[in-house]
Assembly symmetry: C3
Homo-oligomer: 459 residues x 3
C-alpha cells in the first residue's frame, strides 16, 4: 500500500529502469542493439493502424466543422453526406481505387491496374492459416516491411479525407444522391489515378515531384473537385445581392465548428505522422517526432496569423477565419512536415493563415460560393505548401509547379466533366423552394434541431 | 534549414532506412529476426492500453448519440446517466465483476471466483519494487505475455460498453437511481457471469462457441438487458396513440447523434482490434490490420444499405437510420472481424444495416419503446453477427445458436427479475407529471439548454 | 473464404502464436529475451508522441467544457480563446519556455537557460542526413533513450493544458487580447520557471518533492493563475446580488460540457501514462498499465462521490458538479497515479469529488467568480493530490507542503503582478455594456448560435 519505491523519474533525465540489468549484454553486439525485422514489421504496421484511426477521425472533424458552419435547416443533410461519403469512398476504394493507384504503376506510368477487390497477401494468409508459425512463413511476411492491409487502411482514410473536403464547399444547395455519385467517381477513379503519378511511383515521382503527405495530392485535389462543383452548381440563393453585395449566411453552431477544427488538428498527427511510412527504426520514429512538432507549430502559426490579421483588417477577430487559419497552417505543412528547423514550420503555417484571410473575400468577389472556406484552406494553402518544398526543401521548384499544374488540370478537368454530366443527366441542385425550405426537410424529411428557435423558418 | 536529404519515401515501396545498416546482422540468425519476449510483452500490453482508450471513448460516443436522440428536456439526465454508468460499472467490475469472469473458471464452469478487488500481480510488484531489474524478475513478469492490469483495463471498458447500451433504450422515463442500481448488478454479476462461459474459458468455450469481440457477449447482452427494461418500464407517454398510431418523438440535436456515431466507429477499432489479445508478433499485428479493414468495410456497408433501403422504402433517406446502419454494421462484424475475404465483411455489414431498417418499425409494432434503436442495433445485429461465424467461419452454426440462446436466456431472465424487483421495491418510472416536465427538471433541477427555444415546454 | 483457422484466442489465456516457433531460441540467451536499445528508443519516443496527441486533445476538452458552461452570448469568444491560447502557448514554449524549464537547470537551480528556439539534436540530424544509417550514428541517437522532439512535444501539450485551465475561470468578462498576453507570459516564463524546480531537476527535486504528472505543477499552477485573475477581474455582473444572494448563471449547452469532460478523461490517459517517461521495458509498460487503471478508478470515484453528495446535500443530482467530480478525481490522482493498491485510487479520487462539492459554494461565499469551477477542480484537488503522495506514498509530507507552497506563492504572486500590470496598462475587463451584450458580439462581432432562441438577449 505504498507508491512505487522507484524514484519517480524526473522529466529531464530518463531512467530506463527496465534496461539497466541487461545493458552490458545489449551493447556487446551491434545486432542486439538493433531492431529485429519482425519487431520493425510490427512497428511499421501499427503506425499505419493507429495513425490511420486518427485520420479516420478527421471524417468526424469535417462533419462537425461543416455542421457548425451551415444553417440549421441544412444540418442533418450535411451530417448524412459526411458519414455517407466516408462509407462510399471506402467501398469504392476497396473495389477499384486502390488497385488503380498502387498496383503495377510503371515508372513513367499514369495509372495502375484495373481490377476489383484488394485482399490480404498470400504470405500473410499462409502464416495465419499455418499450424505452426515457422521462421520461413514469418520471414515471407515480414520481408514486406508492413502488413498489406494496414497500408490499405491508411491509404483508404486518405481518399475519404479528399472526399470530405468537397462536401463543405457545396453544402446547402446540392442534392444528396448526385453528390454521392460524384464521390463514388472521385474515390474510384479521379483520386487514385492522379495519386498513382506520385505515390504509386509513376511519372511525377520519376520526375522528382515531392508531396510528403498530400498538400497537393489530397488537399488540392479535394479543393479542385470542390471548385469545379461550386462553378457548375452556382451560389446559394441570397448569397450575392444584385448590387454586388455579399450577404453573410452565418453558421448555426460555432462550438461544433470549433470542435471539428480540433478533431482535424488531432487527426493530422496521423495524417502527417504515418506518411513517414515506417516507424521501425530510430531514424523513422525520430522523423515522426519532428513531423509532429512541425504539424503543431504550423497550425499554431496559422491560428495566430489569421487572428492578428483579421483584427488589423476588420478591427474584430473572426472565429471562423481563425479556425480556417489552423486548418490552412496544417494543409501548408503537409507537403513537407519533415522540414528540419522548426522555425520554418512557423513561417510556412503563418503564410497559410494569411492566404486564407485574403482568399475568402477574393472567392466572394468572384461569386464562387464556398460555404465553409474549403477552397481557400485546401486548394490555396495546399498549393502554397507544395511550393514550400521547392523553396525550403530539396525538391526543384519547377518540378513542384509541374506537379501542382498537372494534378490540378487533371482533377479540375475530370471533375468539371462529371459535374456537368450529372447536371445534365439528373440535375445536381435542389429547387428554389427546397433550398428555401432547407435540405433537411426537402431531402430527409426531418429537422436537425426540431425544438430550437425558428429553425428552418430563419431564412 | 532544409528538408530531409533522404528521398521522401514513396507510398508504395517502403524504405526501411533504419534497418539498412544492420540487415546482414539481423538476417544471420533467426532469433535476431524475431521479437524478443520482453518486446512482445510491451506490444501486447500496449495494444490493450491504447485500444482500451479507444473503447473508453465509446462511452462518450453513446453519451452523444443518446443526447442527440432524446428531446431537450431529457438531455442533461441522459448525460448524467452516461458518465455515471461508466463510473459505476468500472468500480463494480473492479470490486467484484472481473473475478467472477476470469478467476478460476472451470473448463465446464458457469462462474468464476467470488472475491473482492483485483490488483497487480506479485511478479509485477516484485519487479517494480526491486532495486535492480534482474533477468529473473523480468522473466517472471514477461512470461505472462502482457501486464495484468492492462488486461483488466481492456476488459473493464467492455463491461462499460455493455452498460451504455442499456441507457439509450430506456431514456426519457426511467428514474436515475434505480437505473444506477441495475447497472451495478449488470456490471458486478450479470455481465461477468455470462462472459465467464466463453471468455473466462468456461463451458461455452469448451463447446466451441466463438464470439471474437462480443457481438453476443457484449452487444446482445446489452440489448437483452435493455429489452427486459423496456418491457417492464413501458413506452413513453404519447409514443403510441390509442388507435395504434406511432408518434415520432424526434431527437433534439442530430449533429450530436452524428458525432456519437463517429466516436463509436472510431472506438470500434480498439474494441475489435485488441480483441486479438496480442500484438507482439507479425501474425498478430497482421491479423489486427485485417480486423481494422473488416471493421471499416462492415460499417460502411451498413451505412449504404440503410441509406439505400430507406430511400426505397420511404422515398427519403433517414439520418438516424443511417447512423444506426453504421452501428449495426459494426455490431455484425464484431463476432468475426477476422474473416479473410474482405468482400464478406461488406455482406455481413450490409445485412446488419438491412436488419436495423426492418427491426425498428417491428419493435414499434410490438409497442416496445426503444428511444435510440439500441435493441435493433445491438441485439438483432448482434445475433446476426454471431450466426455469421457459423455461416462463413469455422464454428458450428449449432453451437453458435446454443451460445446465443443460453446467453440470451440468462441475461434476459436475470434482467427481468432485477427490473421487476426494482419496480416493486422503489419504482423505476418517474411520474406522469415529471415525464411531461422532463427528467432534467424533475430529477436534476436544471435544463440542458436553458436559453434555446421552448425546451421543456415542447411536449 | 473462411474465418481464421486459428482457434480464436480466449480472453483469459493468451496464445502468443507468433512467438511459438522461436521460443527456444529466444529463451536460450538473456539478451535475446530483452528489448534492444533501438527498440526501447522507439517505444519511449512513441509513448511521448501518441500520449501527447491525447493530451493535445484535452485542449478540445477544455474548449467544449467551457463552451457548454458559459451562456450563448459568450460562446464564440470562449471557443476563440481556447484555440488561440493553445497556439500561443505552443509558440511561446517553443521560442522561450522549454529552454527555461529544461536546459541547464542546476541541481539547486531555480531556472534554466535564457535562449530562443529548440530544435532537433545534432545526433538526430546527423542520422537523418547520412547516406547510410551506421551503427555509430544510430547509437548516438538511441543513447538518449527517446527522440528529442518527442519529449518537446509531450512537454508542450502540458503547458497548453495549464493555459487552458485559466480561460474557463475568467470567461464571460475578460477582454480577449489582454488574456492572450497573460497566456504568453504564463507559457514563456511562469510555467517553465516553476516547472524547472521539479521536472527540470532543480531545487525541489533535490529536496525530494514528488509530483508524478503535475497535480501541482500543471493543475494547481493553472488554478493559481486563474485565482489571481479572478480576484483582479472581479465577478460577472449580476452573479452576486447586493443582499449576498448568489445568482446561478447556467451554462447554455450541457451536452457539450459532458463531451468536454469525456474528452479530458480520455486525454488524461496520455497525461498520466507518458509521464512514466518510458515504455521500452516490461517494468515501464506494466507501470503505465497500473497508471491507466488508477486514472480510471479515481475519476470514477470522483463521479460517484460528487453525485451521491449532491443528492444528499441538495436532494438533486447536479450534472455540472458530477462532471467536475470526474475532473477532480483525475486531478487528485495525477501526482501519484502509480499508487500500488487500486483501492487507494478510489479513495483519492472520491475525496477529490467531495472537495469540489464543498469548494464551489465556498468560492461563491468569498465572491470569487469562477465560471466553470476551474479553481475547485484544478487548484483544490491538485493540492489534495499532491498531499496524497506524502500520505500514501514514499515522499515526505513536509516536502510536499513545501513544494505546494513554493509553487503556489511564485505562481500566484507573479500572476497577480501580470494581471495588475495588464489592468493598469490596457484594461482587462470589457465595459458593462459589452458584458451585457456578450463578448461574442462585442469582441468578435458575431453570434455562436445565431438561429437559436433569444441568444444574447437572454440576460
Amino acid at each position: 500500500m505504498k507508491l512505487f519505491s522507484l524514484p519517480t523519474p524526473g522529466r529531464k533525465i530518463l531512467v530506463l529502469t527496465g534496461l539497466a540489468a541487461s545493458t552490458t549484454l545489449v551493447l556487446s553486439n551491434a545486432a542486439e542493439a538493433a531492431v529485429s525485422e519482425e519487431t520493425a514489421f510490427i512497428f511499421n504496421t501499427f503506425s499505419f493502424l493507429i495513425h490511420g484511426v486518427l485520420v479516420m477521425w478527421m471524417a468526424a472533424g469535417f462533419a462537425m466543422l461543416e455542421s457548425g458552419l451551415v444553417r440549421t435547416k441544412n444540418t442533418a443533410a450535411i451530417c448524412l453526406k459526411n458519414i455517407a461519403l466516408y462509407s462510399i469512398a471506402g467501398i469504392a476504394y476497396y473495389l477499384i481505387g486502390y488497385n488503380l493507384m498502387y498496383v503495377d504503376v510503371a515508372p513513367d506510368g499514369f495509372i495502375g491496374s484495373f481490377s476489383i477487390f484488394y485482399n490480404t497477401s498470400e504470405a500473410e494468409l499462409a502464416l495465419i492459416g499455418a499450424d505452426e508459425a515457422t521462421d520461413e512463413l514469418i520471414a515471407a511476411v515480414t520481408s514486406n516491411g508492413y502488413s498489406v492491409m494496414s497500408d490499405w487502411f491508411f491509404q483508404m482514410v486518405f481518399v475519404a479525407t479528399t472526399a470530405s473536403i468537397v462536401s463543405g464547399a457545396l453544402a446547402e444547395r446540392i442534392k444528396v444522391w448526385p453528390f454521392m455519385i460524384f464521390i463514388l467517381v472521385l474515390a474510384a477513379f479521379i483520386y487514385p489515378i492522379q495519386a498513382s503519378w506520385t505515390w504509386g511511383q509513376g511519372w511525377l515521382t520519376t520526375m522528382g515531384f515531392s508531396d510528403f503527405a498530400g498538400s497537393t495530392i489530397v488537399h488540392s485535389v479535394g479543393g479542385w473537385a470542390a471548385l469545379a462543383g461550386a462553378l457548375v452548381l452556382g451560389a446559394r440563393k441570397g448569397k450575392y445581392g444584385p448590387d454586388g453585395r455579399v450577404n453573410p449566411l452565418p453558421g448555426a453552431n460555432l462550438p461544433l465548428a470549433t470542435l471539428g477544427t480540433f478533431i482535424l488538428w488531432m487527426g493530422w498527427f496521423g495524417f502527417n505522422g504515418a506518411s513517414q511510412l515506417a516507424m521501425g527504426s530510430a531514424l523513422d520514429v525520430a522523423a515522426i517526432a519532428i513531423i509532429y512538432v512541425n504539424t503543431t507549430l504550423a497550425a499554431a502559426a496559422g491560428v495566430v496569423a489569421a487572428m492578428v490579421l483579421t483584427q488589423i483588417l476588420y478591427k474584430k477577430m473572426d472565429l471562423t477565419m481563425t479556425l480556417n487559419g489552423a486548418l490552412a497552417g496544417l494543409v501548408s505543412i503537409t507537403a513537407g512536415p519533415d522540414v528540419q528547423h522548426h522555425g520554418l514550420a512557423l513561417i510556412i503555417g503563418a503564410v497559410g493563415g494569411v492566404i486564407v484571410v485574403f482568399a475568402v473575400p477574393l472567392l466572394d468577389k468572384l461569386k464562387i460560393d464556398d460555404v465553409v472556406g474549403a477552397i481557400p484552406v485546401h486548394l490555396c494553402a495546399g498549393i502554397w505548401g507544395t511550393l514550400c518544398v521547392g523553396i525550403f526543401g530539396g525538391a526543384s521548384i519547377g518540378t513542384q509547379i509541374v506537379g501542382i499544374a498537372a494534378i490540378g488540370a487533371f482533377t479540375f478537368g475530370t471533375s468539371l466533366v462529371i459535374w456537368f454530366a450529372l447536371k445534365t443527366a439528373v440535375g445536381i441542385r435542389v429547387s428554389e423552394e427546397e433550398e428555401e425550405m432547407g435540405l433537411d426537410k426537402a431531402e430527409l424529411g426531418l429537422e436537425a434541431y426540431p425544438e430550437f428557435g425558428q429553425g428552418s423558418q430563419a431564412f
